[in-house]
Symmetry: D2
């Protein structure tokens, strides 16, 4: 049984004494340090830090934690984010007709391989209904046409809000989300793109890869931003292919990549190991 | 000691009986088959084949081989290429200031890890002179300025021709070759680009990769064509990087990729294992 | 729609003219060649070949194919194996309490990503029942104790025979099969071992890997033979780990390897791309 | 230009406040923290830490640094190791007849890709003499026979001591060092073994790999201890092979692995990123 932990993410300008101040605060309040990672960008001198600490012996109340730390936060002009491992985030998975990613996520959440709670599957098709319901996860069918898209996106946002969804995972969801949806959940929508971005952005990346004659295919998971396929990258992998592989072989081989890369990104995100730094990520893996 | 072999490369429209005709011809003329690879493109129905056979017992003279095969060539409308393993190709390596690739190639040719003969190193700088001469390889200094480029390229082409150079390897040669040079050696100039093409084509790919925040870097070796970084890809590899890697770390990690990917491509090319098929390659690895 | 194909696997002593004879036979009987792979072992001079050809235009009846080829078979002293792609093999998956491999195989067979038919799941536990039945695959519970093992193995063999099972996949089945079972299905039982064999054979390989402090973990799929973990290897993969990974992290990371490596091996086997050559395999991938 | 840094490595029993104490000490003495990595072993509760800090502004003299830190060292019962980046370590490379690793190391040190100074090449053969001397590195020929081994090892130890050698790299040195040599340089002799240890320990690992029919080969760099091939592993990599690869192909493919894995290990070691923890390593990469 893993202990309950707090996870504190910090961003601030680099300065002498930041790490000492934060770890000193934790030691003083009996938050036994389990992991500490930090990074300073050589160019921007932006400092980032993640500390994970045992929460059971804390001498400060959780809801007073950041207040108790206020003088440090002020001194170093920190932006902070604090999460607790026993407050699992509720996750919604959006998918279309292809089920390899959603099936994989259903299995991983069911087995508690991923932290958090898979609270719903939403789809513009009904292919995934059976798998979701077998796993005991509510399924919502929100079909989308160009005409109904605004209305359906409003319905989806209401649903996400009503159900307290923290993170949305696009598991090969073949619809581009409108800026309104993206803006409503900044840094909390994760997509899987079936190429090694920035190569083969846009539609049909396996066809593009086949046409170019590359010797590797890839998959990229990233946060969704207003610009399609341009969001901060969380995880990427590649695998070898050859002239013997037709487009359908690339698709098949790619599915294995997509599943693993998306699951990695979701796990890192839900363990609060990903910090956004401009249009890039810092992954304290 | 590996036996002397012939390598026959064939391209033709797909048809029943091609493999039987070719292998039958070889059996009839006592060319014991060592390897046979073939591939049919599902879309274009273009058929490609590579056979390697022992040359020592052949009942037909080498210089009469293709003539003896003429009726088969005609029947299937074949384009053919025939090479013999005991006629090693002479190779020229072009480089600029960075020596990791040229040093690596010098070592590999010296140890006979690569087939063929490294006949010269040509550079617009003198950094590689010492390494080349220590390896006993003639070094030619052809400095290039915008003004002298046409003249120096003519000098280089003359040099390549005079020395009977079969293949040119651009080992981080930081000059774009003019169409005249490229056209003079179609399918016989190999470049290494320090990214996973088509991502980060053009200049400073490691800087581009750093700016985009990718989690993998790559290297691509390809035949040089008139369009920069668009030539048929021979080999590619990637390796993981993280936010901890600055541009200089990407450069350092990339060097290891570049060396291996370029050497792989050169070896495959000199073993006649690469067939050009439009703007793609078929690599019978 | 892929065409119906025949797959002919051949082993014989190396001799001039084998490939010509086989491909000539096919051309003569209008079996249009789609793929041909061959290999000669340098040490033993054993020749292996796999040809795949279109079956629709054959001028010889399928059940007379090998007979028509008898003179060639005799001349070269061939062992042959002939399979047809439209006669899918029936597969049984055996598992215990861990479900990552069986769930993955259920998904892949359901999506027709793997050829063949997943005809049953057999387990000494009931954990996988629900997933199997949801996928419409019959589930058989055959609990095993040291006392009941002989009896249950007899029951299993009867079940496999009665249901016409061609191939058995041990998807983390935590029981050692008795020689009687292994001998009944030579070259048709595939296991996944959760290490890079021959490292960490035997029990608890992730614990062994953790204790040794390796920087990579692996998975190996192989045919089951009388000697535990010594069977011919079909597929292997590794991935990086570090000191940060506890045993449970190795287990988690390893699951992703195991699934992919096992699925690869099953696919290669069911596509008749694996030839046994002594205690090794030739994989015409 | 990278700044001069101090690198402090710490091992002690886990306790609340260690990180705060160390980073507080650094902040107090104006050692601006650049990197901090720490790790607690879940089983043994052993705590390990590496901090790298700028040395230019330190308010404490370098040779008084650990003394100034004494109360912290005592309180937490720390073992410490302190190194400065401007005090490069002198390295000796030992090799035999194969030159791929030694050539590679000569190039990397010459290009300052590796920190430290390659002070000598020692060999029981003379093959590497020319490459060493071309690079301006002294070459020592110490031929070894069973009779002369004790005497030559004494000569080598004297040489290493006289020249102030900090680290010894066995770059395919085909002699087993006697316990006397190993004990003289604990944690400072790095070997490359041409397999994925613990698979294929001992002699001729590529032959062993070929005989077993593995689908991947590997290379392992490790500290040398009294037990052959059992030392703490620093770095490992694998790459794919197939039935087409004969032993000589495994040897060739393996050379690329060996070079990169050995260079990685040497770099990590010389950057003080490797901590010994029993028979394992913690690599703060």
């Amino acid at each position: 049984m893993r202990p309950t932990t707090g996870r504190l993410l910090i961003s601030c300008p680099d300065a002498t004494g930041v790490v000492a101040a934060v770890t000193g605060f934790l030691a003083e309040h009996r938050g036994n340090l389990l992991e500490a990672d930090q990074h300073t960008d050589h160019g921007t001198r932006a400092f980032s830090m993640r500390v994970e600490f045992e929460a059971s012996e804390l001498s400060v109340r959780r809801d007073g934690f950041l207040e108790a730390m206020a003088s440090i936060v002020d001194r170093f002009r920190m932006r902070t984010k604090l999460e607790w491992s026993d407050t699992p985030r509720r996750v919604a998975v959006l998918c279309s007709k292809q089920t390899h990613c959603v099936s994989d996520l259903l299995w991983r959440f069911a087995e508690a391989e991923l932290p958090g709670e898979l609270a719903m599957v939403v789809s513009n098709h009904t292919v995934a209904r059976s798998a979701a319901e077998h796993a005991g996860v509510p399924f919502h069918h929100l079909p989308v046409t160009p005409e109904t898209k605004p209305e359906q996106e409003r319905a989806m946002l209401e649903l996400l809000e009503r159900e307290g969804i923290h993170t949305v995972v696009l598991a090969r969801y073949m619809q581009v989300l409108s800026p309104g949806v993206v803006d409503a959940m900044p840094g909390r929508i994760i997509n899987i793109h079936h190429s090694f971005l920035p190569a083969f952005a846009g539609a049909k990346p396996y066809h593009q890869a086949f046409d170019r004659g590359v010797k590797l295919i890839g998959a990229t998971s990233h946060y969704v931003t207003a610009e399609l396929d341009e969001g901060p990258i969380i995880a990427q992998q590649t695998r070898t292919v050859s002239h013997r592989d037709g487009v359908e072989d690339l698709v098949r081989k790619g599915r294995d990549l997509e599943r693993v890369v998306l699951a990695d990104a979701v796990r890192l995100h839900l363990e609060d190991k990903v910090l956004l730094a401009g249009h890039k990520t810092i992954v304290f893996g």
